[in-house]
Every structure is written in structure tokens, then in C-alpha cells.
Symmetry: C2
């Protein structure tokens, strides 16, 4: 029995083979959903861009990007895929099936993108737009303020610019631990504030920089809780 649609998906395939391909993981064989995933990723990125563009007429380009990233990231797409119960329909190779591939975040997210690519090819742009709108609009409406999505480094930079100060410099000052458990210590240095050096230590450079920036922001701006939503 070939599926013509999925419960919760606002499109009925005129070519059900297309849906089958979209549901087939590369572990199953050579005819799989990887090309459709490439296409669906592009369609999804575009339609979500447009929905957010229309929904947030006042936010800047940078904020539009950050808001979109919240929707098109693997974690969010996997949650949508779970809502559609996509895992039940994914066609996996035996190995992946036994190791629980149908529940893995990356497989769920990629399969959802492939299904969107298949809807676009089977039903056209307007149909894929409608499918994406119905899946994503509730999430877009629930997005936090763009301000809350900025990470500490962005916020620090903006705060310094507003004060007419120079941009911060991040320097790796220590690296400790074995390869599998490295800890990086980074200093955030602001020219003109020579006495102040803010330090963060974490398991990656990026995280350590964010911690250092966050510390600088707290001290310099006097804010006590400057980075909500930074994850």
C-alpha cells in the first residue's frame, strides 16, 4: 500500500512515489531522500523567511535571520516531524532501524525537509507554501522578541557601540585538560577600559567567548540578567 499523504500534512500526492522517496533514508539504499532534502531545505528556508518578513515588519535584517534560525534548526524541525508522527513512516535500513534511527533528531528533521521538497515538486509552490505555513505559523507567532535571541557577544557589541566605545577583542588565555575534555579560557578585552578584563571558561571557544562577553555586559552595563534566551 503506497501512502498518498500523511496525517496532518495539508497535501495529497498525485505521485505517491514522490512521497515514498521523501521518506526513504540513505541507509535503505541508493534511491533515497537526500536530493529532495536539499530542495526542501531551500523551500522551507524561503517560505519561513517570507512568513517572518511579513509577520515582523519592524525588525532588522539581522533579527530576521536570528528569528528564522530558531524555526529551521534541527531541534524545531524534529519537533514538527514528531507532531506529524513522521518516525512511523520513515523507511530505514535494518541497522538504523534497530538503533532507533526513526527517533533521531537529525533523521526526523532531514526527512521533514525531504517531504517539503516532495510537496513542492508534486504540488507546486503555492501548495508547499500552504503546507509550511500551516506547520510553522504557530511557532513563528510564538517566537520571542528578536532582542531576546541575541547572544551575549552581539549584545555587548551593540552596547559598546551605543556608548561610542571600541569593539571588544577576544583572546584565548588558557587551554587545559585532555583532548576529550578540553577547557578554554577566553578574555574579553575592551580598549579604553584598560583596567577591565572579563574572563570565561567553557568546553568550546565559542561558549567561553559568550561567557566572557556576558560577564563584561553585566559589569559594564550594570544589568543583572543580560542574556535571557541565549541558547
Amino acid at each position: 500500500m503506497t501512502l498518498q499523504s500523511l496525517p496532518g500534512l495539508a497535501h495529497r500526492f498525485s505521485n505517491p512515489k514522490m512521497l515514498e522517496t521523501a521518506l526513504t533514508h540513505r541507509s535503505f539504499g541508493k534511491s533515497n531522500n537526500e536530493r529532495l532534502e536539499f530542495l526542501g531545505d531551500a523551500v522551507l528556508n524561503m517560505v519561513v523567511a517570507e512568513l517572518i518578513y511579513q509577520h515582523r515588519p519592524d525588525v532588522s535584517e539581522g533579527d530576521l535571520s536570528r528569528l528564522r534560525a530558531r524555526i529551521v534548526r534541527g531541534k524545531t524541525l524534529a519537533s514538527i516531524a514528531r507532531r506529524l508522527d513522521l518516525g512511523k513512516h520513515i523507511i530505514l535500513g535494518a541497522g538504523e532501524q534497530h538503533s532507533g534511527g526513526q527517533r533521531r533528531e537529525s533523521i526526523l528533521a532531514n526527512t521533514l525537509e525531504a517531504v517539503i521538497g516532495a510537496v513542492y515538486l508534486d504540488g507546486g509552490f503555492a501548495e508547499s507554501h500552504e503546507v509550511i505555513r500551516s506547520l510553522c505559523l504557530p511557532l513563528i507567532e510564538a517566537l520571542p522578541d528578536a532582542e531576546a535571541l541575541k547572544d551575549a557577544k552581539t549584545k555587548l557589541q551593540e552596547w559598546l557601540q551605543a556608548q561610542g566605545l571600541s569593539l571588544p577583542d577576544y583572546q584565548l588565555i588558557a587551554e587545559q585538560g585532555e583532548d576529550h575534555a578540553k577547557q578554554f579560557t577566553v578574555a574579553c578585552i575592551v580598549e579604553g577600559l584598560a583596567g577591565d578584563r572579563f574572563v570565561g571558561t567553557a568546553s568550546s571557544l565559542r561558549k567561553a567567548e559568550k561567557l566572557a562577553a556576558s560577564q563584561a555586559l553585566v559589569v559594564l552595563s550594570g544589568e543583572l540578567n543580560p542574556v535571557p534566551g541565549d541558547n
Copy 2:
């Protein structure tokens, strides 16, 4: 006089204000093309993805991405913008105008994206699809073989996998010179080929890794000219 279209652009604006906004750089003022650029970038990425998907039925997802990157990169978009003589119509602040902003690659590329975003909003998806198709299809048809676009690291990885060998490891072994003229030396190490260590030195880690991979590929595969088109 408000422009309703641009020579070479297959769309006549029913709302010419939209085209004007698309042509306005942020140096000119608060009402500028940055949001339209965000939208146009997404539309362009999607339509180019679809055109390449259709045009290259046999290439893998990774190759589709590499091929698309060739079209949507700043250099290519700026060349299209020059063909449309876009620089003549870009509205810049006085400072940018005097420093030749209308000829700068990034400004040309971003303005082209904004114009595409404006076409989408003014004329709908089919119209923007046609505009992008007419601008990009000749370039898509002229794209090289996907194989030629792979960089040395990708090629080395694929070659090692085909031989059943483990993936290479890249290690920074030296860093020399002042901050403004740093030279990085990277070793490419392949487990199981203990005697062989391939080294590259360049002004960035990425370039040094590519050189080391390229050297490994030459020696291991016996190919003499393994990385054409790697730029």
C-alpha cells in the same frame, strides 16, 4: 522620475516604490534595502536550488550544494548585477558614493538580492522564478562538473574512504609571524599510514589544511594534478 523596471530585468513593477527601496543602500538612510535583501537572498537560494536540482538529475546532495554555492556567492551575483548595470541605479549615501560604493562587489550583490526580494513581493513567486531563471540559467548551464568543485580535503576524504582507510586528522604544528602576517603550518595525518605526514603552510588554517590535504592526495593516490577548480 520613478523607475518601473531595469533594463534586462524581466519584471515591470506595479509598485515602483518597492523597486526604489530595493535600490536604496543603508548608507542613504533608515528606509533601505536590508530587509528586502534578506528576503531576496532566500528566494534566490531556493530558485537556484530548484534549477540546479532539475538541471543535474544525477548529482548528490553535497554536489548540489557546491554547485549552488558557485552561483549565489557574492562574486557571481556582482557579475550579474554589472550585467544589469545596477551600479548606476543604486541609491547611496554621499560617503559611499564618493568612495565608489556603486562598484563594490558586496553592495552590487546585496542590491541584486534586494531587487529579487522586491520582484517576489511585487509580482509573486512565478514572476521572481522567471527573473531568476533568465539571469542564472546560462551560468547554471556553464557550471563545471561537480567533481571539479570539490576541495582537496573533500577529495582526500573520499579517496581514503574508497580505500577503506580512516579519515585524516589535521593538526596545527606551527604558527609563525606577527599578527598581521601569520603563517600556519598544518599536518595532515592518516591513521594506518604512520610513516606519512603531509604538511601545508599558509596564511589561514583553512588554506594550510587544503595544502596539506592536496599534498597527501598527490602522494597517496599518485595523481599529479588532483585539485583543479579548487578556489
